[in-house]
Symmetry: C2
Subunit: 599 residues, 2 copies
């Protein structure tokens, strides 16, 4: 089974067209501008001297590379000489400054040339991973091969140092990512060296690294606590973790490695049943940006980095190439419509690094108590998320379809037209839908006979047709149409009783979309609001947000002078307005709540 | 009006006899032992040399002094040669090491002799304040006058430096306390210099201190942001704040200063209606151990230092000497039975510095996230609270009665016998009660005619008799008995809707006592428990705790495998056990909750 390449699908309208246009018309330029201003592109000149401003940071290369990868995805859909000029200039600089043996890293080459591969936690291999992915994307988009050649030379260098000579001061990356890139490179070029190197980095992990300078560090934080095939729980830095799990899934597929696949299943189950916000956000513990223990999912204090949600979707996306199970599409959908897309403003140029599940603005007056930020900003010192948004949105559609011979799995619902090959011939599959505004999806097919398996989302308990592993099956021939109807009701979801912060509270969902209330619509003291589950829900479109809003009856306590008083049942009834979580904080800083009381 | 001296009242039994026996038989010795072990008593020898262990800390003197004050209260009730020997030896050391001009501070004399009165925030005057209070208490208990003389000489020194010469590097104490002590000294000795110095320290506060080295500090943290008569809200370090307000109330009384009294009223109202836990705990913000903004009363993260609760009771205790208003007794009662007494274990030898309102043991696995400790410990580095418990319990009864000519206000209910003077003759007033187990209090009186005004607690909304300013009035003559009946029902209290952490939750109270659930009785996931307000409450005594426990019907959700699921009403009914908040964490570390759901 293989995920269909994103570019096979043209997004024709609806929710994801809004976001595709946004990334094309706003986000790509906005991120470029911020990165240029802060010296990230200039760093590739490798001419920085001590005392000058814009000291190249250890992860700036990855920022630029991710932006280039995202831009390449846009170029692949439509050539763009301005974008290509930027990338070509970058590639020229890399070529000029690449070490003779293939090594390239703008930080180490300029700031610490004598310390190459001496510091496990300084993101060298992580940066290289992103360079490799950018190079693949750019080659595929343009056919230009310089960038890819430079990066293959870089891979040769790393292979020599880490596999042949074992001369680096550490054995595996402190921040995973290159493993994914190497497996993509192997798949794209067939280069066995890339496969061996990826396997090496995965197999070396968690078996101890005697003599390494960083050995005393927190092995869990870097997923170095157990060998990958023995992993049972998601630990440590959540982005690193999910990048690792993604690579594990890719290698499990390449090698037919059942033990590795089983480890992927276990860790994904641990995430989905114990360590994930209802938005698909992961990494609840801000201390170390990491997975916390089972059921520790704070709402105000959660970290839920945008990159971690993206990484979780990558992981699930690779899993759906190994096994036909709607769970993977469910996870991707949850991330897509909630915890990932909340990371970017509707204007496309402001970003969240952390994605809180609840905001009490007054709490931000606390001195010294950490809380996620309440409004998106243009750039961060650690700015991994904005270019990750560019590459994710630039390739939206990448996990929509999985093809297995003449069977096509439809994992996601997007107004779109997809070109694919079925039975050796060209075929076209279109979706007409305004999902998630409605759950009505009409498929049209032209081509040789195909089996279409449509994911019936886990949230859709009302679906009445037959399913197998979560998919409804249709046999289509040329000219066929089929309509899938997913009842789109408003639901109140409760969390496991072990989730302390959600006790006595529910989250409102409609389809895959998690809703929240904001102070700007509903006034203050949102924690005191009780929604009324009486069916009197109104779902309607509003111009500013590409997904319906919901109003419903609600009540709250009347104001009182006393700090404490005997319980009484006096309540003020009002009409509450709920907006998609993805759209919070787009109308200024505001109180916000996902988990509310319900009666 | 004057509060009757505590020693006029003999505690005959019941709740406070338990605690008096505890402090006498356990706490006093336990605190002494810890302080001796850690070098606090030895520091008075002033022979510490650089490089030696047990470097005298800036606030060790205050620890020893508070212990001595508490021990003196025990001695006042019953002479004790062992305790007196300890104190006499300390006094001899102070005499030996006191500077010729009267200055004494074991830290500065040994560690930084050249830096006397150069550092506003190094607790010098705070320590002196506690020395003065200890000296008064010891003189009153024993008649021995050496200690008091030494401390009066110390006051002379401070008066010269701060009032006459203004030669210190700062104008007012960074940590208030000495103001209280000076006013007590004035009341005890009539020494006008003490009154002038106290007035000076209060009047100088909040008017800016140009040229002081610490001027750039956080003026709010030290209550130096506004002149005392303009105070409208409780700010900064909660112990310092409440000590300041206590001194303000004392001076307002001495000077008949209405503006100062009005400031006291405003700040007390701010505390009681916006910044106090239901237990009487104050200082919600752990960053700076300080008052937070209005209605910010977190349950798990609150600070609620034991000393701050004590200081709030001191403040209310002085206010009730100015105005006959049951509010003051209500506050003292709330503190006594909850947020103060929770600071000491039932064994008397373990202490809380912070008093959380909720404990989720699993949260303590979080790295890097501050939470209050979950079990009392024997000693702290900053060990202000344990000796404050000694002096508070040693003088329990100090705010029971306030006398105004031939009117006696009964503010607190204690099984006791009190000797007092009425109409120029000896009188005896006894209370027979097992309060707060029951609300039945029988007063017996012998003596000349008296007006007894009994505080009807604010919590007792069922009381049906007439009251004036919250007091029921009885005219008693020799041999009279009168019984006050305060209906003791179980109540569910709710917090103001602005208190985010308590939204949708209630606290159980019975009389003045706040209850909580512990995991040891009720299992885990306490936030998911809903108490059922069906009147099926059972109140019963248990041996290990000097106050009844309560059982009632409750329900919780059944365990589930899913992390998120559609809301359903399935519940498991069980019998919940609630214990007095004051007794939590006496049976090992446990989950604990005060604010629960109720239906």
């Amino acid at each position: 089974m293989e995920n269909l390449h994103f570019a096979a699908t043209e997004i024709k309208g609806g929710f994801w067209r809004f976001y595709f246009d946004m990334v094309k018309n706003s986000t790509t330029q906005a991120v470029y501008d911020r990165f240029a201003e802060t010296g990230r592109f200039g760093a590739l000149r490798c001419d920085w001297k001590e005392g000058e401003p814009c000291r190249p940071h250890i992860f700036w290369d990855s920022d630029v590379a991710k932006w280039m990868e995202g831009a390449a995805y846009l170029i692949e859909r439509e050539r763009d000489s301005a974008l290509e000029k930027i990338i070509d200039d970058c590639v020229d600089l890399i070529e000029k400054n690449q070490r003779e043996d293939g090594y390239f890293n703008s930080h180490f080459l300029t700031v610490r040339p004598d310390e190459v591969f001496k510091h496990r936690h300084d993101h060298e291999l992580y940066c290289t991973g992103h360079w490799i992915e950018a190079a693949i994307a750019y080659h595929k988009a343009t056919g230009k091969d310089k960038f890819l050649k430079l990066m293959r030379k870089n891979v040769d260098c790393i292979y020599r140092i880490f596999v042949e000579e074992e001369s680096a001061a550490f054995k595996t990356p402190g921040h995973e990512e290159i493993e994914i890139a190497l497996l993509r490179l192997y798949r794209y070029t067939g280069d066995e060296k890339a496969l061996v190197l990826a396997r090496h980095f995965l197999d070396r992990r968690g078996i101890g690294n005697p003599g390494e300078p960083d050995e005393g560090g927190d092995a869990k934080q870097n997923q170095d606590n157990v060998p990958v095939r023995e992993i049972t729980e998601a630990v440590g830095h959540s982005v690193r973790a999910c990048y690792l799990y993604t690579a594990m899934a890719m290698l499990a597929k390449e090698d037919g490695d059942d033990a590795l696949k089983a480890a992927c299943d276990r860790v994904l189950d641990n995430i989905v049943t114990k360590r994930m916000s209802i938005t698909g956000g992961v990494g609840a513990n801000r201390s170390g940006e990491k997975f916390s223990y089972d059921y520790d999912l704070p709402n105000e204090y959660t970290y839920n980095e945008t990159c971690a949600a993206i990484a979780l979707a990558l992981f699930a996306g690779e899993m759906q190439e190994i096994e036909a199970n709607s769970l993977y599409g469910d996870i991707i959908e949850k991330v897509w419509y909630n915890g990932f897309i909340s990371g970017v403003s509707l204007s496309g140029d402001h970003f969240f690094y952390t994605n809180p599940m609840e905001i009490d603005l007054s709490k931000h007056k606390h001195d010294g108590i950490w809380l996620p930020i309440v409004e998106r900003v243009k750039v961060f010192g650690c700015s991994c998320c904005p270019p990750n948004v560019v590459r994710m949105l630039g390739s939206i559609g990448r996990y929509m379809y999985t093809v297995d011979g003449d069977t096509v799995y439809c994992n996601q619902f997007v107004q779109s037209e997809t070109k694919l090959t079925v039975g050796g011939g060209d075929a076209v599959l279109t979706q007409e839908t305004d999902y998630p505004a409605s759950g009505h999806i009409r498929f049209r097919y032209s081509g040789k006979p195909v089996t279409l398996k449509v994911r019936i989302p886990g949230w859709c308990e009302e679906y009445e047709g037959e399913t197998m592993n979560g998919f409804a099956e249709y046999h289509l021939t040329d000219g066929d149409e089929v309509t899938v109807e997913l009842p789109m009701n408003v639901h109140f979801m409760e969390a496991n009783p072990h989730v302390q912060d959600c006790a006595g509270r529910c989250a409102v969902m409609r389809g895959p979309v998690v809703y929240c209330m904001e102070g700007v619509d509903n006034g203050g003291d949102l924690r005191d609001v009780t929604l009324i589950d009486n069916g009197n829900f109104e779902v309607s479109a509003e111009d500013w947000v590409p997904c319906p809003v919901i109003t419903m009856d609600a009540e709250r306590r009347a104001a009182t002078d006393a700090l404490y008083r005997r319980r009484n049942g006096e309540r003020v009834v009002f009409r509450a307005k709920l907006i998609p979580y993805l759209a919070f904080a787009n109308r200024g800083a505001s109180d916000m709540i996902v988990w509310t009381m319900v009666k």
